[in-house]
Every structure is written in C-alpha cells, then in structure tokens.
C-alpha cells in the first residue's frame, strides 16, 4: 500500500492540527469557555456553597448539602469534587487553547484576533482560579496540562502566588479585551470589574484587622474605571435581571452562556434542582420543594425591599404570572427559591430547553456588584464614610431596588446590602471569606450568631427555614435538629476532595512558591 494508507485522521471531529487557522476559529474555541465546563459548579455547588454554606438558604434532606449547612464537610462530599473538577476543567480548556494559539496559529491571523482571544481566555482562567483560591486557599497552579501526562502529581502553590497569577491574567485581559463585543462576551470592563474584586479580596490577605491600602486603591481604581468611564448602566428593573428575555443585558459583565437542549451535565440545571414544582420545568425536574431561604436571610429584607425579595424567593401565596403562563401562572405553595426559576420551555420560547438546560444566562459579575465593590474600596479601612461617589453608586443600587437611600456607609451596611442585592447568586460565602482574611473573628461571629438558638422552646435559630402565613404575614421558624460543627478559621477553607487527596499525596503537604 501507499505510505499514506495508514494516515487515518478522524472523520468526525476537528483536530487540533486542522483547527486554529483563523480568527473565526478562535471565536468558536473561546465560546466554549462560557458554558459547558462550568456546568458542574453551576448545577448544585454555586448555590450550595455560595448561599447554603453562608446561611442564606437551606436544603434539609440532601446529605451533601446539609454538610454545607452544618459545617461538617467531608472530603467525600460530592459537590466539593464537582466544584473542584469544574474549575480545573475550565483551567484545562483555557490552557489547551492558550497553548494552541501560541504554537499552532499561522502568522496570517491578525495579532488583534489572537490577543483578544487570549484576553478572553485569561479572564476566564483567572475567574476559575479566583474561585479556587477563595474556596480552598493554596491550590496547584497548572499552566500546561500536557506536562501532567509525564508528571501528574503536583504540589499546592502559596495562596499569595495564586492571587499573583490571577492578577497577571486579569491585567492581560484588561489590556487586550475590547471595550465592546457581541453581547455575552467579556470586555475590558468585565476584566476591570473582576480585577477590582480580586484586589479588594487580596487586600485583606494576611492582614490583621485592616486591609492593604495599595490593593484597596487598585480595587477603587479599576472599579471606578468601570463605574465612571464604561458608559454601562444598571438595568432599570431588578426583577428583569433574572428573566431570560434580559439575558446579557448591559449590566451583565460576565454571565454563563447556557444553551438549550445540550443534555445532562452540560447545561444549566439550577432551575431543575431548585424550582419548587415540576409544573415550572419542562421535561421533569423541579426538585426544590424542600429548599428555601433561611429566616435569617428573610429578616434582612425590609418591607420596602419587596422587589428584591420577590425576585429572590417566593413566599406562600406569591403569584408569578409569567411562570408556567400556559397553566395560568404559578402561585407559590411554600417558601422557596425564585431566582433562577425562569419557567417552562414555552415561557422562554425555547423549544429544546429541558430540565438539564435552562437558558438563563446567570451572571457571575454584574455592574451592581462592581458598584458595591467601588463603595467598599472607597470606604477602605475607615469605620464609616460619606464619600459622595461611594454613596452615589451605593445608592444607585438601592434606588433601583426601590428602597431609600443611605447617607453614610459602614462595613456592615455594605455587607448587608451585598447580601440582599446578590442573594442566591452564589456570592455571600465569598464575602464572608473576604472578611475572614483580615477579620476572622468577625466572620466567625456572623456564622455563630446564625447557629445560636433564638428561642429555646422550639430550638429555632436564624439558620433555619420557616413557614409563611399570607393572611397574617407571620413567619414561623422551623425546628432544627441539626448539629453544627462550631465555626473556626478553618471553616473558611474547604477540604480538598478525597479523590485528589488519595491520588496526589503532595496536596496534603505545605504549599510551595510558584514564582
């Protein structure tokens, strides 16, 4: 036979050798990074860690989720592994693409195409490492997955180096991403907002009581740049932020780009897991009947704060005409999750949307978050501030929600505003972690209060679910027989998943420098 008889490249797939040939190939490659690899994190852990562990939400039956509520998280916890895997999957795809762009792209492709794509990829890689750093502290930094073939066992790297790595990636993204792009794609504003958040978080790392002023200044600089010069504005309606008709609205700086009909494990399954009724989800699902907010969260909302409340969770009797519209709308029969519940395929005019593939493009970073970051950075190490710019952006968030402006900012005011504004978006836990970096006692005490019984008669405590009587408006906390592991500084660092502890004993050793 001829020599090429044995050359049999695949007929189905594209190969690394014949892809990465043009700018449009790059757009196809980077589009992937906005969705599928994040699915494992998005499905349960996003809310399980972000809101359940922080005491905003509770699921009393799912043993792995109960571990997040009671701080008895074992390395075997499946959501732990799922999150860790998901973040590192994202990293792997980023690394593969960066390497291909650097080694396989022909010179004919415009430099701007390459650097723009690298900017997107590095933004996403940094976001993934940011999650890893906040949840696990020191983690392995992996930049070239091919090297793992020969040498699969890596050490953890120092947390300061992980943050340095994240900031390097984001600074590249800030410099190389465009000011505008197709809706849904990240821009330099996305990168600047994320960089502000990273600086704000790192500002407390290794500090005691106060934060590093230079990092606070950097946070204020980048957040200010987004607030003052991007030209972006808040979406007028808070409620609409969480409707699919408003996917990728100008307020969204980075949102997962979920597609319908992609199958199990590949799309947005939050609605399936958290919606309280199967009538809300096409094709089955709606398994969240037992899930709801804690009374602690519900008590943070003033009567005036009804828009954000109703967009975040349902109280018994609440009506949502746009959900299951064909069935006459949905009336809540209990106290359950609303945010991420977007209704049936028909409600969203998306025929292939099924239980595993909600088309909600849930935001990882939105402008209101950056407004609050800006205010927090400007407040800095002060006990309070009346800085006009800080108040301007802070009150923009409140005004949009229909609540009164404040005249003075304190750390507690900002913390509480963030908790309400971003509730059920998987954010509050990270606010507590940020606090724990420089003021662990305060972070611990916030949790301790949540698990201290308020009424010894029925053993109720802030971290418990409640029932609601629409006739009287009375919230009755549920009895809680959970046994809590007392919070400590260790509470703010998750155990490394059992699988990787076993596979790589080096992860149990002290972290080593990366740089």
């Amino acid at each position: 036979c001829k020599k090429d008889y044995l050359n049999r490249p695949p007929l189905t797939g594209i190969t690394t050798d014949n892809f990465y040939k043009s700018g449009s190939d790059l757009r196809l490659a980077t589009a992937t990074l906005y969705a599928q690899p994040w699915a494992g994190w998005n499905n349960f852990p996003l809310l399980g860690i972000g809101d359940i562990m922080s005491g905003n939400m509770l699921q009393p039956y799912n043993a792995d989720l109960v571990q997040f509520t009671s701080f008895s998280i074992t390395p075997q916890n499946s959501y732990l592994a799922q999150s860790w895997t998901s973040f590192y999957d994202v990293v792997a795809h980023c690394n593969i693409n960066i390497k291909a762009i650097n080694t396989k792209m022909p010179d004919s492709v415009a430099v701007k195409s390459k650097t723009g794509a690298l900017g997107e990829i590095k933004f996403i890689r940094a976001t993934s490492y940011f999650y890893l750093a906040q949840l696990w502290g020191a983690v392995p930094i992996i930049e070239d997955n091919d090297k793992l073939i020969a040498n699969p066992l890596v050490p953890r790297h120092k947390l300061t180096d992980v943050y340095k790595f994240i900031i390097n990636d984001l600074r590249y993204a800030v410099a190389n991403l465009p000011k505008t792009d197709q809706p849904g794609r990240v821009t330099t504003w996305s990168a600047q907002g994320m960089l502000a958040k990273v600086y704000l978080t790192r500002a407390g790392l290794g500090q005691n009581g106060s934060r590093n002023q230079s990092d606070l200044d950097s946070a204020a600089y980048y957040a200010g740049s987004v607030c003052n010069t991007s030209g972006l504005t808040l979406l007028p309606s808070y409620y609409n932020l969480f409707r699919t008709q408003f996917n990728d609205n100008p307020e969204s700086l980075f949102a997962f780009q979920w597609a319908p009909g992609v199958g199990y494990g590949q799309g947005n399954a939050i609605q399936t897991q958290f919606a309280p009724s199967s009538s809300l989800v096409t094709g089955g699902g709606g398994w969240g009947g037992a899930i709801g907010p804690t009374i602690d969260l519900a008590n943070q909302y003033t009567t005036q704060d009804s828009v954000r409340r109703k967009a975040t969770f349902m109280l018994t009797g609440d009506k949502y005409p746009e959900l299951n519209a064909a069935g006459g709308g949905y009336t809540a029969t209990g106290v359950n999750v609303k945010k991420h519940v977007v209704g049936t395929a028909a409600d969203n005019n998306s025929p292939t949307m099924d239980l595993w593939s909600s088309i909600e493009h849930n935001a990882v970073l939105r402008l209101a978050d950056v407004y609050l970051i800006y205010a927090e950075a400007l407040l800095g190490n002060n006990a309070s501030t009346t800085n006009a710019i800080a108040l301007q952006y802070f009150n923009a968030v409140r005004t949009r929600a229909g609540v009164d402006k404040v005249t003075m900012l304190t750390p507690d005011v900002i913390m509480n505003e963030r908790r309400i504004e971003l509730a059920f978006e998987g954010q509050y836990w990270f606010d507590l972690v940020r606090l724990s970096y420089y003021n662990p006692q305060k972070a611990i005490s916030i949790i301790r209060v949540q698990i201290t019984p308020t009424n010894s008669q029925n053993n109720s405590m802030p971290r418990t679910q409640f029932s609601y009587d629409p006739a009287t408006g009375i919230k009755t906390p549920a009895a809680n027989s959970l046994i809590f592991t007392p919070p400590s500084i260790n509470t703010f660092t998750l155990p490394i998943p059992a699988n990787d502890q076993t596979a790589d004993p080096k992860l149990l050793e002290a972290p080593v420098p990366y740089y």
Partner: protein, 1025 residues
C-alpha cells in the same frame, strides 16, 4: 487398470456401521460416500491410496492391493493426533504443532447448545476463561486467554473463516450487553481453534497479543448431498429468586421504623397479620421463556465443487420481561477446483439479529429488587401501580411497567464473507489471495413514553432513532512453499502481505413531545425539539508476514514466525513494529529408544518464545480532537474532547511457553500440559489522573472535562499452568465412558506503573504494583457497636480529620447500632487511609469436567464447570440490607439493630443507658441521620464467588440403522438437554458467574441478568439421498 472396490465402514467404539464417510482416491478427483449401512463402492487402481475421512474420526489411508474388498474400522478422534488444526494462513496436523493450541469440535458444540459461539468455549479449552457478562438472550461473554494482559480488558482476536474480528470489534451500535458475535450460528461451526502462546499467535501480529480464536465453518465433502435438519425447543427459567420481604414483613417493619423515626403509621398497615403477601417484583418481572431453533443444511459436492449451505432461525425470549433475541442466518460455503492449477471459493454468512434490550438498558432487574411489596403491578382501575405520593422518599419505578412500555429495540444485518483464489504454480508452491469483508448495518429504536406510576411520573416522552454502519475489508496475499528433501527434511514456508481497512459511520436523531405514546416514529415528535448527532471513523492496518516450519525426521520440529505491522493508531514515528516468535518441538516417542514401547502413542515436548505487539487503543490517540457543542453565544462552539499523546507507542508482550503432549495405552489416556509466563510492557491505557488535570479516562463520562491521553503506563505479568486430560475410562461393545478435564490456573500481577501513578482506581477497586488487576479496595468492619463498652474498645473516631464524631443519636453522630470501621493505620481517625485490599474478582483457577457415556444407542453427556477463589461485590445488599432506605428490603433487615434501655426510665441519649438487644445482628440501627456513613464500601458486601456449576446434561438416542433404512433416513437422533442445571456456591446473589469487560470494575453484582436454566428437547435428522 481400475478395479471396483467395495467394503463396509464401521465405528471402532461400537462396531456400528458409519454412513456418510468420505472415501477418496488420493491425488485424484475420484470420491464417494458410504451408505446408511456403512458400505461403499469405488473404482481405484492397484497402488492407489484410499483415504477414509469422517468428522470426529481418525482419517485412515489404505493401499489398494489385490483385494477388491476393503473393510475399514474408523477410530473416534477424541484428541486425535491426525486432526487438522487451523493455525492462521495454513493448517497443521495436531501432532505437528509446536505452539499451544486448544480445539473444540462441532461434536462438543452440539452437546452444550450455546446461543453464541463464545459460550461454546467455556470450560472446554484449557487456558481460556469464559464468563457470561449478561444472561440476556444473545448476551455478551468475556473471554480471556491466559489471564488479563491489561487494564482495559483483554479480548482475543476472532478469525472466522479468514475474516478477522478485531479484539474491540463491536457491532455498529454496541452496548447494553450486546454480543457482536451473536450473528453467527453455532451449528454452522466445524471447529474452534484457540491459539494461546506467542509462537502460535505471532502470525496474526498486532491484534493477537491476547490470543486468537479461529472459527472454521462446515464445508461440503465430495459425494451425494447430505441433507440435515437440527431443531429444538427450549424453556428457560430463573434458577433462583432472592428472598425479599413480603407485604406482612414489610408492614411490620415499616411500623417499627415509624415508631423509631417518629412518623405516622400508615393506616393500612395497622394489622400486618391480615395483609396478603403483596407483590413479589421478581415474580412479576421474570417468566418462563421459550426458545426455538431450526437449522437446515445441505452439503455435498463432486470432484470439482463442494458446497455447504444452511439456513437457521433462532428465537429466544428472555426470562426477564423486556428482552428477546431473534437470529435468522444463511450460510454458503462453496469451493471449486477450477483447473489443475486454480482453486476458488467463497464463504458467505448473512444474518439478521433482532433483539430487545430494554431490560438491561433500563436496569429493571435492580429496580425489581428495590420496589416495595405494597405497590401493585397494576392498580384495580387499570393504571400502573406505583408508590404513594404522600410517603416521603418513596419514588421507585414500576419495573414491570418499565420493562413493558419502554422500547429499546436493536436490529442488525451482518454480512461476513471471504473469497479466495489459490494458484498452484508447482507441486510445492502456491499463492493464495483472499478478500474478506465484514459489513454490519444496525439500527436502534428507543422510545421512553410518558407515564404515571404513583409518585413516579414522567410528563414528557422522548424517542431516539439510531442508524449506523461498520465496513471492514481486508486483502491478504501469501505464498506457501512446501517440500520434503531427502525424505527427512520437511520444509514449509509462508510469506505474505495483508491490508485491512475499517470505516464506520452513524447518525442518531432524538425528539421529545410525541403526540401519543403509541405513535413512536421519530418524525411524529415535536420538530422544534429535534436534536441529532453523527459520527464517522476510520482505521487501517498493513502487515508483511512470514513463517517457516522445518521438520527433521519427524522428530524435531521448528517454527519461526515474523510479522511487521503498521497501524494508523500511531503517529508516523511509531507506526511500524515487528512481532516474532520461535518454537521447538521434540517428538520423543519417535526416538529409537522409545520406538519399541507400544504403550506410548505420543510424547512431545514443546518450547516456545515470542514477542507480540498490541495496538488496542482508540484511533488517532496521538492527536487531540474537538467537538461542536452549542453555547448561548451565537450557537456553535468548539471544545477539545480528547488529548493526544504524540509519543504513544505499541504495547509489547513477551511470552514463554513449555508444554508436553502425551498419549498412552492406545490413546486411552492422553493429556496436554502447558506452563507459561507472559509479560506485557508499555501497557496502553487512557490515564486516570487527579481531577485537577481536567481529564477523565476513556470510557468514562465527565462533561466539560477532556478525555485523558493514552499512555504506555506500565507492565503486567501472567504466569500459569493449564492442562487437559482425556481418558477413555470404559470401552466395550455396548458401553463407553469418556472423560475430559480441563484446568486453568493463572496468576496476574502488576509489575510496574509509570512514575507518578501510584495506583489505578476503579469504582471499588485499586490496582497497584505487586498485586493483581482490579482488586477490591475498601474499609474493614468489626461488626456494630453494641453498648457503651464497645465505644471504649473502639473509640468513635474522626471521619474527616476535623474532630471526633460525637457519640449521639442525633444528626451526624455515631450510636449503638452503627458499624465499627477498623482504624487500620491506627492514626485515630477513619479516612481514606484506612482502606485496604478486600480480595480479587479474578478466579484463582477455572476448570471443566466433561463426561460422556454411550450405552448402545443412548448417549449421555454431563458437563460441569467451575471457578475458585474469586470475590464478588454484592452491591444489591447495600440497599437491601439497609433499614434506612425507602425502598425494597431483604428480610434480613427485620433483624435491624434494636436499641434497648438499661434503665427504662433513663435517658435515651445517654450512651451508658443503651444497648443492642439483638447483639448478633449485622444490620445497622434505624436512623436517618447517622454520621457514620455505614453504607460505604466495605468487606460487609464482599462474598466468595467460588462455584461449581453443572452447565449441561444432555441425553440422546440414536435410532438404529435397521430402522432408519426402512424410512429412508440416514440418521436420526433425539435428545433432551438441561443447561445451568445447578450451581454449588456460597454466593447469595442470583449467580456467581459475573463477567465484565472492564477489569477495573469486575466482580460487581448490581442486578445482574442471571443465566437461565434451560430445558430443551430436540432432534437431528439427516436424509438419505
């Protein structure tokens, strides 16, 4: 000067006349067949040689002298040394073999009535371990020759009439226990030859490192047509039912559980003694299932052309609802001696296989053991029974309904063909050209309807239609030169070239929202929900090969083989590789010092060594590939799905073999024993890496991750010993008793894993250097905590390193009635480091014992097979023995750990006041909130898998020729068979014979489809011409 020679042919074992014997004049086209009374007539010249041959009898050659009457007695050929063995690109007499080859004949196959050909090998060929992977009709079988040669299964290469079925050769739509070899009709098979050592397999090179199974189908013989019919009807049953709770037991248990947990008693359970037995879901799911086989064949020929044509219809219902199998096949083998120098021929096999695989695909056997007895199969109003929606956690399916209404139907048309032309240049030199093809066209119809089964409902129906094709082609050309020099030096040399090409493609379409569950055509689904996928694949192999055989004085035999293979699976740098082997044999009985010893008929020592290569990985493993997936960003995107390893290279196996064949006392005792050592280096495996690598191993599922690269990961060895012993225990005019015993012992050991890979982890197994592949790995248990004293002896230990687990009956605590896990490393906590090896799913040895008896016209065959020393993970016990589940239970759960109070007025949460009142139990307490993780994988669920199974008993009666002559029949045999008659085992599940393709997930019983017991009656009849 031709003379007319007549005579009568009889069988040596019973002196009965033998009809149908082929009589040929050697080196001439003249031939005939013996008649019903064994008589024949043929014209031959003085000095000619007459050759008398008959299947399963020793061929005899007799010189024609002056006598015109030649009566012949033919000897049955149990382990016959003149039997011809197929060795790949040629044949050899068994007595001239230098390699290790086991054979199974058509007569053996007829006795065991296998549904598929691989089943016919079980226990009959030493060194070959055969385990049924699924008892579903047409279900797959795991075949291992001389141990596990790797971490991903070690299937042999099948060669069917020259058509190679690669080791991972699958049906175009694989899965759900489907057997790619099920399209071949076992009754068309003339012989199965198993090539075991490197000297035998090297000629097949790159695909043969785990052995070769050569299947040869029946051919016609010169003579008048032989018309035969084989037919049988069988009835199959589940041999054993699990003991599960009946309704009374269940109600009693649920009442006790309700008291402990504190939920309301169900009113209908108020008086368990008045309840009926409820639903036994196994009885609902399993049935007595019929099977039916008709096979008609016509064979014959003349001096120039020989033919064998057969047609078969086989139909088998599964013992579990939702499974059945139908095969319709046509076979035609035609050989033609066109001219003195040219022979041509073709083997054709066309088959249609239609099977329902709903049972396996939906896992209903497991569900039948999970569903509770209070649920009706069908409600009085005709709706499907299901769990009461008002009871928390009870959301099981109705397995009977699922098996009935879910459709998973596979249909496949397969065409096998091998055409050849053989040119004889001289007496000694021939060129053979073969063109082989294997074409597989398969479809699968899957429909999952919408339904309501109590609390379990499905509101949307969905359907998937899949269509796929595999095309395999090969072209082989080889020259054979054969000559005897100086009457003592015999030489046979083969040299050739071969090219193989595999192409595959398939499409699949899915829709949901069908207007009706009854109209299931894909186009009736909601068009806006349509999704589809398509795949295409290709691969190629090319090889140059040669083999030389030398024999000196019929005493010393030498075989040398070399093959140079190229495979598309490797990058250009690593594409080509060489396989070689050599073997020596010494026929000791032909030495002068043994010539006079009449008692020894055969004594041969064999020595062999070889190096064989393997390419058992996915195509294009050296490069990375991307798939198209949708995202919310303008639709399509490209995602990397596999990572390539440009350095991936061939896996190599070195093997050593020493064997001894002997036959003594006129062949009444014969045996063959082999000892071997195989070492496989550069083992190919898709890596299992830590999660932070962003990868998952090939065959796994982890959306968003990338399939890990294949690497050459390590080395594994198999050493073993095998023997076959055949004896004619009683030999007389009316009564004969023959025995045949096979024994296989194999020791598997991982020798090396590449740097950085401490272990290969399976679901419940761990593979490390120094142990065998896939050993179970988990926790050891020390019973349950019975009282406060036990907590002094076995302190409640930290489960995760964050402080000791509290001793409390509340959430997250440990209490009396929880399992004591052993702190193996004594570090004061129970964690992953306290897991240990709990046994191997690999048998220490496997054996087969076959006894056949003849008394006058009766024949009886009893075949037993067994395994010893393997362990099974009885996964059904994890739920079945767990009182805290909400679904089905084994009655053992009634004996859950019951907590009593020492001082009845004292505290229930004071550890010093509680004890277990039934301390001998091994079932845990009832608690929804124990923090002890009682159900984690531990030795509680490991059982011995040793068994001795009576595989078949067959009793037949041959009608006498006197009678048959009157009704113009050549032969008539009627028989009754029972297969899977009984099993002696300690295993508590359905069946300890649990095969698996994946050695890292072997020995796991999770609702295994048990092999049925089958009762069959049948007849074989052949007509007189």
């Amino acid at each position: 000067q031709s003379i007319k020679i007549t005579g009568k042919i009889t069988s040596a074992d019973n002196n009965q006349p033998l009809p149908g014997v082929t009589i040929k004049v050697k080196d001439s086209p003249t031939g005939t067949l013996s008649g019903a009374d064994g008589s024949y007539t043929i014209n031959a010249k003085n000095g000619d040689v007459l050759v008398f041959s008959f299947i399963s009898y020793v061929t005899q050659q007799i010189y024609v002298g002056s006598s015109a009457v030649i009566n012949v007695t033919l000897k049955p050929s149990t382990n016959d040394l003149s039997e011809v063995v197929v060795i790949g690109y040629g044949t050899r007499k068994r007595s001239d073999l230098t390699g290790s080859i086991s054979s199974v004949t058509a007569a053996d196959i007829a006795k065991s009535q296998p549904t598929t050909i691989d089943q016919a090998l079980q226990g009959r060929a030493a060194g070959v371990i055969v385990q049924q992977v699924s008892g579903q009709p047409g279900g797959d079988v795991n075949v291992q020759i001389r141990g596990l040669g790797g971490f991903v299964g070690s299937p042999p290469l099948y060669v069917i009439d020259g058509v190679q079925i690669p080791p991972n050769g699958q049906s175009a739509i694989p899965g759900n226990g489907t057997n790619p070899l099920s399209s071949i009709n076992p009754s068309d098979i003339a012989s199965i030859d198993v090539l075991k050592d490197a000297s035998a397999t090297a000629i097949y090179g790159s695909q043969a490192s785990n052995g070769v199974i050569i299947i040869t189908t029946k051919k016609g013989t010169a003579g008048p047509p032989l018309i035969s019919y084989d037919g049988y009807q069988g009835w199959q049953k589940l041999p054993k039912y699990y003991d599960v709770m009946d309704l009374r037991q269940y109600a009693t248990f649920m009442n006790e559980k309700g008291v402990i947990i504190g939920y309301d008693m169900r009113p209908q359970f108020a008086n368990p003694q008045y309840l009926g037995v409820g639903t036994n879901w196994q009885k609902a799911l399993f049935r007595t299932a019929p099977m039916l086989n008709h096979n008609l064949s016509i064979s014959g020929g003349d001096a120039r052309t020989r033919y064998y044509i057969s047609g078969t219809y086989f139909s088998q219902q599964g013992i579990a609802l939702g499974s059945d199998f139908k095969r319709t096949s046509v076979k035609a083998n035609i050989d033609n001696k066109t001219t003195n120098w040219l022979k041509v021929g073709i083997n054709l096999n066309m088959a249609h296989v239609a099977e329902n695989v709903t049972t396996s695909n939906t896992g209903v056997i497991n569900q039948a053991l999970n569903q509770t007895p209070d649920v009706a199969v069908v409600n009085p109003d005709g709706t499907w029974g299901g769990n009461d929606p008002n009871i928390y956690g009870a959301t099981g399916t109705n397995p009977f309904a699922i098996a009935t209404i879910v459709k998973d139907f596979k249909s496949r048309y397969q065409l096998f063909s091998n055409a050849y032309a053989e040119i004889q240049f001289t007496q000694d030199l021939t060129l053979r050209n073969e063109v082989a093809g294997n074409f597989d066209f398969a479809t699968e119809d899957y429909f999952n309807p919408s339904y309501v089964m109590g609390a379990y409902s499905k509101t949307t129906n969905s359907g998937t239609a899949t269509s796929a094709q595999n095309f395999y082609n090969s072209i082989s050309n080889y020259l054979t030169y054969q000559h005897t020099f100086a009457k003592k030096y015999w030489v046979n040399v083969v040299a050739g070239h071969e090219a193989q090409l595999l192409k595959s493609n398939g499409v699949s379409a899915t829709r949901t929202n069908f207007a009706s569950n009854n109209v299931q055509t894909i186009s009736t689904g909601d068009a806006t929900t349509a999704t589809n996928t398509g795949v295409k694949g290709q691969g190629a192999l090319e090889a140059y090969f040669g083999r030389a055989n030398f024999t000196y004085d019929d005493r010393y035999l030498l075989t040398a083989t070399v093959r140079h293979d190229g495979s598309s699976k490797f990058s250009e740098a690593n594409r080509w590789n060489t396989t070689y082997s050599g073997a020596l044999a010494w026929k000791i009985n032909h030495e002068s010092f043994l010539k006079g010893v009449k008692a020894i008929n055969d004594l041969k020592l064999r020595l062999g060594y070889g190096l064989v290569n393997n390419q058992n990985i996915a195509e294009y493993a050296y490069g990375s590939t991307l798939n198209t997936i949708s995202t919310g960003l303008s639709g399509n995107s490209q995602i990397t799905v596999t990572t390539g390893n440009p350095n991936i290279k061939w896996e190599t196996t070195k093997s050593y073999n020493v064997g001894l064949d002997a036959a003594v006392l006129s062949g009444r005792i014969s045996f063959s024993a082999d000892a071997y050592y195989r070492k496989t280096n550069n083992l190919l495996l898709s890596l299992t890496m830590p999660y932070y690598s962003g990868t998952f191993p090939a065959g796994g599922y982890s959306p968003g991750a990338v399939q890990a690269p294949y690497v050459n990961i390590g080395a594994v060895s198999n050493k073993g010993f095998e023997f076959t012993l055949s004896t004619q225990n009683i030999k007389s005019k009316d009564f004969n008793w023959n025995s045949n015993i096979t024994f296989t012992r194999n020791i598997n050991k991982v020798l090396q894993l590449v740097d950085g890979t401490p272990a290969i982890n399976g679901q419940v197994s761990k593979t490390v250097v120094g142990r065998s592949i896939g050993e179970f790995y988990g926790y050891q248990t020390l019973g349950i905590y019975k009282n406060a004293a036990d907590f002094t002896k076995y302190p409640a230990l930290s489960q995760n390193g964050s402080g000791a687990i509290p001793i409390t009956p509340g959430t997250g605590g440990v209490w009396v009635g929880d399992v004591i896990f052993k702190d193996i490393n004594g570090d004061g906590k129970i964690d992953a480091n306290d897991q240990t090896f709990l046994g191997s799913p690999l048998p220490k040895f496997q054996y087969g014992i076959n006894n056949s008896f003849n008394y006058k016209n009766f024949d009886l065959n009893v075949f037993m097979t067994g395994e010893y020393g393997n362990k099974i993970y009885n996964q059904l016990k994890v739920n079945g023995d767990n009182p805290n589940q909400n679904f089905g239970y084994f009655p053992s759960v009634l004996n859950f750990a019951k907590i009593g109070l020492i001082d009845p007025a004292g505290s229930t949460s004071d550890i010093n006041n509680v004890y277990i009142t039934n301390p001998s139990t091994n079932i845990t307490r009832i608690s929804q909130s124990s923090g002890n993780d009682n159900q984690r994988f531990s030795d509680k669920y490991i059982e011995s898998g040793s068994f001795l199974k009576c595989k078949s008993i067959a009793l037949g009666y041959n009608f006498s020729n006197n009678l048959l002559n009157k009704i113009k029949l050549r032969s008539l045999r009627v028989y009754v068979n029972v297969t899977n008659v009984f099993t002696i085992t300690k295993y508590t599940g359905y069946d300890p014979e649990i095969g698996s393709w994946n050695p890292l997930q072997a020995g796991i019983d999770n609702g295994y489809y048990a092999q049925p017991r089958v009762y069959t009656v049948g007849l074989n009849v052949s007509l007189n011409n």
